[in-house]
């Protein structure tokens, strides 16, 4: 199956934003992800879906070198991670940090620029201005001075998104940005992702809600330890592939999909 999609890209001539080859990650003895081959063309907005424990977050973390790989290679725009770091933006899961940390919203957003500043240099006026601009884009312009413990869940997610925006990356990895946010925030976030996508950025999103996949994403990867299917949403997001990813558990979706 993956070969077919590789051919597809070759035919389209689009360059690859992300190429993953034979990637395997194991916790203890059990592989969390197994022999992943994944080619993501430049400029797609891709959903990564799969059941709990399928290795979605693990895939992102392994690709970003945050956890050790048992095997495999990864390249971004043809370069290894070490030389492509400035091209990569990351939005971790909201619950992964202590929101009672003594710092302000603007300060968190500026952290997105620390990598560009390099060792020892401190953020200054220019950094503050780009952070403020990013806050405006996510609709938190007035909350820059606020202490982060006073944010709602949706505002926390927007803050993380703003921090990724100031990175001005080419390819973004987002780990469940829609987890436990209300419909208004979800809409706002989707709007921001689509705007990024229109500007030619590649965006990978770990996603849980199968009902919205077709609406949000133009590319999809179905994952369950292995890659089941990956490609344009219309081609890869089929009832057959869903069944092979989730087992019989998604029968509720077949009807909806069958109509399309």
């Amino acid at each position: 199956m993956p070969e077919r999609f590789q051919d597809l890209h070759a035919a389209g001539g689009a360059s690859l934003a992300l190429a993953v080859d034979d990637l395997t990650v194991a916790y203890d003895e059990k592989p969390a992800i197994w022999d992943i081959d994944l080619n993501v063309p430049e400029g797609v907005l891709m959903g990564v879906v799969g059941p709990n424990g399928a290795g979605k977050s693990t895939l992102i973390k392994a690709v970003l070198n945050l956890i050790p790989r048992a095997a495999g290679t990864v390249s971004f725009y043809g370069k290894p991670y070490e030389r492509a770091r400035s091209l990569v933006g990351y939005v971790p899961q909201r619950g992964s940090v202590d929101w009672d940390f003594p710092t302000s919203v603007l300060d968190v957003v500026m952290m997105g620029l620390y990598g560009k500043l390099g060792w020892f240099r401190r953020p200054g006026k220019r950094e503050r201005e780009s952070a403020q601009y990013a806050l405006e884009q996510v609709g938190l312009a007035d909350l820059g001075d606020r202490q982060i413990s006073q944010l709602s869940g949706g505002q926390q997610q927007r803050t993380f998104l703003a921090r990724a925006l100031v990175q001005d990356a080419q390819i973004y990895f987002m780990d469940e940005p829609f987890a436990a946010v209300d419909a208004v925030t979800e809409n706002a976030i989707v709007g921001i992702l689509q705007a990024l996508n229109r500007r030619g950025k590649t965006v990978l999103v770990v996603h849980h809600d199968l009902q919205t996949v077709e609406q949000y994403f133009n590319w999809v990867t179905l994952l369950n330890v292995e890659v089941i299917a990956s490609g344009p949403t219309a081609e890869a997001f089929t009832p057959d592939n869903l069944r092979r990813t989730y087992g019989g558990r998604v029968s509720f979706l077949h009807a909806a999909n069958g109509d399309v």
């Binding site: 070198n65 070490e82 940390f101 710092t103 300060d107 968190v108 952290m111 990598g115 401190r122 001075d145």
Partner: protein, 447 residues
């Protein structure tokens, strides 16, 4: 540091407070001389200086230990230092710098042991820390007992490392501590942004190309060095208190890391200096416990009194809120009842308003009456002119918020945190308010 952040009113207040504490701290010296008749002899001055410098260093590094949730790692580290002190004494004799190097190596090995346990077994962190702490401390005590049994007399005072003994500190020790301490503080200043990022969100730091493993090692090493420097003063058992108490106290007063670290340094200097002096006045008082008593007095004070987080503060603000809400709700109830039974200034029976909200009504009526918004007659309550005006304003603001909630998206208005206590007109531009007013008129016209 502060440049990176817009200076808000709250920020300014905390900076002012930091200044005031520094002045008060400096005034302690003349006061203790004049009022308490304390004689600042050479020895006491040396001890006070040593204690304060150690307090500054451990206050700064302690902030990171506290924020990383690693306070107990600090405890294990300091206990693990004891066998190092003993072995260094056996090998090199009673020379402070060698003793501290031995302590540092043992402490660092203890840290590696915890890491090894966590990586190779399924033992949880708290248990791993317990294992390291107990076994290294036991080894240290055994070695000390062996050293005590040696015929040589030079071992005297080595057991001071258990509880700390400020009186043993001499000028040369202070110079050593200052030199190493300055290097530690310099390293924190250099790695400020990296330490902050790794402490808040190590995963993001890693994805941004920061070598988090290296940064963590540097930070842990600095904490080990800090603990080792403080051992002679505070002792292995209580060093953790000197490390974390200033940070815990400082955290209560501020919402920014810059301020927290500076405040912790000041608190640490105060606790270290005062504790060391008190214990130096009488050789029988071990220094560690004295410093901890002062440090935790600061913690207690901060937890009770600090604005925003302090217990007294939140009690007071709860009370103020209760009063404010009672007044607003009562005013609204009076106004609505009056409108439904005629005009805004119609009479509202006392029974009704008390029946709606008994105690809160009492509280609200008392305030409204004092403000002249309501008048009591024999038959009941009546809103005064100012009361009606105020009720109308609140009611109108509430309706504008309703319109905002309904139409903000369609009208493309700025995203606001909904706060009905605040006048919406002060949060939005005039043009936006005009559009909300129009929506409100449409809604009323339609109804």
């Amino acid at each position: 540091m502060a440049r990176a952040q817009a200076v808000t009113a709250v920020d300014r207040r905390v900076w002012l407070m930091i200044g005031a504490i520094v002045v008060a701290g400096l005034l302690i010296i003349p006061i203790s001389q004049q009022v308490l008749g304390l004689r600042l002899t050479y020895t006491v001055r040396v001890v006070a200086l040593g204690g304060s410098i150690l307090g500054v260093i451990s206050g700064v590094l302690g902030c990171f230990a506290v924020l990383r949730g690693e306070s107990l790692v600090g405890d294990a580290l300091s206990h693990a230092a004891l066998p190092g002190v003993a072995v260094a004494f056996l090998l090199a004799g009673r020379e402070l710098s060698w003793l501290l190097i031995g302590a540092g190596i043992a402490s660092w090995l203890g840290l590696r042991m915890v890491a090894a346990i966590l990586q190779t077994t399924r033992i949880k962190q708290d248990a791993a820390l317990g294992i390291a702490l107990a076994s290294w401390f036991a080894a240290g005590i055994a070695l000390l007992a062996y050293i005590q049994s040696l015929p040589d007399a030079s071992q005297a005072g080595l057991d001071h490392f258990i509880f700390g003994q400020a009186a043993a500190i001499i000028e040369r020790d202070v110079r050593l501590v200052s030199g190493v301490g300055l290097a530690v503080l310099l390293a924190v200043a250099l790695f400020w942004k990296e330490f902050k990022l790794v402490t808040f969100d190590a995963e993001f730091a890693g994805a941004n190309g920061f070598r988090t493993g290296m940064i963590n090692t540097v930070l842990s090493t600095l904490i080990v060095v800090t603990i080792v420097l403080g051992l002679q003063l505070a002792g292995v058992i209580l060093m953790v208190g000197m490390l974390i108490a200033p940070g815990i106290a400082a955290r209560q007063w501020t919402q920014s890391l810059d301020q927290m670290v500076i405040l912790a340094a000041i608190f640490g200097a105060f606790a270290g200096g005062v504790g060391a002096v008190i214990s130096a006045l009488d050789n029988d008082i071990p220094t560690g416990p004295m410093i901890i008593v002062v440090a935790f007095a600061l913690v207690l004070l901060s937890i009770t009194l600090a604005p925003g987080r302090g217990l007294v503060w939140s009690r007071l603000s709860q009370r103020a809120n209760r009063r404010r809400f009672a007044a607003q709700n009562t005013l609204r109830d009076l106004y609505r009842y009056a409108l439904r039974h005629g005009d805004a200034d119609s009479l509202v029976p006392d029974d009704f308003i008390r029946g709606v909200a008994d105690r809160s009504a009492e509280l609200g009526l008392r305030q409204l009456r004092a403000q002249g918004h309501v008048a009591l007659s024999k038959k009941g309550w009546r809103l005064t002119e100012s009361g009606i005006k105020r009720a109308r304003r609140i009611d109108h603001n509430d309706q504008l918020w309703d319109m905002y909630r309904l139409h903000a998206h369609a009208l493309d208005l700025p995203v606001l945190q909904e706060d009905r206590q605040a006048p919406v007109a002060s949060l939005l531009p005039a043009a936006a308010i005009a559009r909300l007013e129009r929506k409100l008129r449409e809604a009323e016209g339609g109804a």
